[in-house]
């Protein structure tokens, strides 16, 4: 590794940039969604409705004159939705009729579409609450409390999540490259001529890369704590144990890829698939775990990041401690041992053993 200083520098530097970008660039929810409003009534009530849309902070309102078409704006994705307030809106409302405001939503970007759709109901409820006679409070009052992250701070979620993904992205890649290159150059087979046995060989290599991985993990941890001013609330010991195991696990998975997949490029591709696709998509950071359909619901369970995510969340948000994360820690150990067994078996074969 020390032969390629640039790679070591990239290995240590890129995760910081990655974690910073992934933690700071996405906001909690879409904001500034552009909505076209065509008011065909132009009365105080229709203006109240338009003000209701403006008051919802997520929207940026573009007024559209009667007779103009909103479709081109939706086609060009310059607006995410169009609201048409019909003629006689106020008159019909005050004669006791039900009046309908039309919300046309551009549905190709589902998250935006969902936000505008829920906004349609929210704005309408808000306007109706403004028109409700005094004293008319709803019969049932939901008192909603958000646990573990009451302010719904994005950093509390994205920064620890990016920390987990960052380790899974770069650590296996380094290990896969090292094992794959050694295998290609015949260094693994040459070790057979020495008095090193396969177990010592595997432990030694994994230990070396785990040490580098742990240095990287420690630096990333300090980075997220300092930059995002995170204040962990849970026990440190489960987090520390799990971080060591998770790093070793990722190095072992990288080693497994390196010894199993022939060719450096293929090994890199596989390590990218592990870190960039499997871990990133299925470990619960990007999409909820429940999104994986039957009969593949087990898939997130065999990914180390799924369990480590849970332990990291416990340290930063939940604060349940060993009682809540012992099973995830045990699974992490199990996954590491399984990967280690297959690496050892393959290395033993490569070194000429049975």
């Amino acid at each position: 590794m020390r032969h390629d200083v640039t790679v070591v520098a990239l290995f240590l530097l890129l995760p910081f940039v990655q974690i910073y970008a992934w933690s700071t660039s996405p906001s909690l929810v879409p904001y500034g969604l552009t909505v076209v409003v065509q008011d065909l009534d132009r009365t105080p009530l229709s203006q109240l409705y338009t003000e209701g849309i403006r008051a919802a902070l997520s929207y940026e309102v573009i007024p559209l004159a009667p007779g103009e078409r909103y479709e081109p704006l939706l086609d060009r994705s310059e607006a995410r939705g169009a609201v048409v307030i019909p003629e006689n809106f106020q008159r019909d409302f005050y004669t006791g009729k039900t009046v309908e405001v039309q919300w046309v939503i551009e549905g190709t970007q589902l998250k935006n579409a969902g936000k505008v759709k829920s906004g349609a109901a929210g704005v309408t409820n808000y306007v109706m609450s403004q028109l409700r006679p005094p004293g008319g409070s709803p019969p049932i009052q939901p008192k909603v409390r958000f646990w573990f992250n009451p302010g719904k701070e994005g950093y509390n979620y994205y920064a620890p999540g990016s920390f987990v993904i960052g380790i899974a992205l770069f650590t296996p890649l380094m290990a896969a490259l090292a094992f794959s290159r050694e295998r290609a150059k015949g260094a693994t087979a040459r070790a057979f001529t020495s008095d090193i046995n396969p177990l010592e060989f595997v432990i030694g290599k994994i230990a070396a890369y785990s040490l580098v991985g742990l240095v990287q993990a420690a630096l990333c941890f300090v980075f997220i704590i300092e930059v995002f001013q995170l204040e962990p609330v849970g026990e440190f010991s489960p987090f520390l144990c799990a971080t060591v195991i998770y790093t070793i696990c990722n190095v072992t998975v990288g080693a497994l890829i390196g010894v199993q997949v022939a060719g450096e490029v293929s090994a890199i591709g596989m390590a990218k698939t592990y870190g960039g696709v499997l871990t990133f998509v299925f470990s619960g950071h990007l999409f909820p775990l429940t999104h994986t359909p039957y009969p593949f619901g087990w898939l997130p369970g065999i990914l180390p990041a799924t369990h480590y995510h849970f332990i990291v969340r416990d340290y930063f948000q939940r604060a349940v401690g060993w009682r809540g994360v012992w099973d995830d820690t045990a699974i992490l150990i199990g996954l590491t041992l399984v990967a280690f067994f297959f690496v050892w078996r393959k290395i033993r074969k490569l070194m000429g053993g049975v």
Binding site: Q18, D75, T108, Q141, Y157, L169, G276
Partner: protein, 375 residues
Amino acid sequence: MTGLAYLRLWVIFRKEFAVVRNSPGVVLKPAVTLTIALMAVVYLVDSDNDTVRLGIVDESRSEYSRDLQSRYEAALVFEITKYDSAAGLNKAIELAEIDAGVIIPADFAADRGAGRPAPVQVIVDSTSPSNGSTVGSYAAGVINDYNRTLTSSSAPPTRRGQITARSTVLHNAAFISRWYLFTGLLGILWLANVSQTVGVLVMKEKEQGVLDLWRTTAARPWEILFGRTLTYVAMFLPAACVVPLVAGQLVYGVPMRGSMFDLLLGATLFLICALSIGTLFAVICGSMRQMMMLLLFTTSWQTLMSGAFTPVEALQDWARPLVFFNPLGHWVVIIRGVMLKGVGIETLMPHYLSLLGLGTALFILSAWLYQKQAR
């Protein structure tokens, strides 16, 4: 351009085709991997499979509380578990066994019977803030809907009517998440596979000294790159574009509402960008490892800032201008525009022009650096 230059280009073009013909795996392997990964991930990340694990504690045990519970049971999104006490429900939330909990207090029936506002406690796990918001709005939404039913049936006659919002969702009325995932993921996988394939090829040439051999020929570096880019666009377009598109249409019913020509034109421009990114990194990096690390890093960065999964409106202000310089961002608008909306070049012209500009700039930059190294 002289006749000689055309001839040289033709020779380079034939040479690149010969390379691919001799080892078709260079194109076929990434194309097959891409198609399989695309179909698998789209299948496995099925957000239509959305359920909320809800715990309910009914301390009231009355007709009123059972009526409220039945509203939750009727909403199919909830997977309901009942708990005997608030402590049991709290523990379940702590251990992440449920996403939210509803506690109906003991005096709920008395409040409802007396016509007083009856509070109901809703506890939401907001470890993930966006999921927490969604779950919270689902759980509170059931109560709000129930309130509307109660007030409209019991309200005294009034001269005021009701305002309702009629929502019409265009282009994906059923909110089919697989269409959305497919159109977002295709570009990401292209970027990852195509840039890597070409990057590895150029890097191997560098490592094996083929770059030095080119110096002994009359071919100019930009001609070599141009020939290679054309070859790989011609190879990747049917293998990595048309095949996954057909597969997506057959398996997931992703519609093709616009013109195939418009889509392929956008795909060509995007592939030129992806190929140039691969070449550029191979030229500037000193080893295969460095290049792979940088490619991995920039692909994930481009994915985030493209609007493929995270909407551009969900990016912070500082990150939004970067989307303009991201070829993937323009491609996502084009593929969703052509396939889902059925619009064409005339509507999406700014994005086609941006891809053309970015592709040209990336190509010139990589050719210039390539030329410098070839010297």
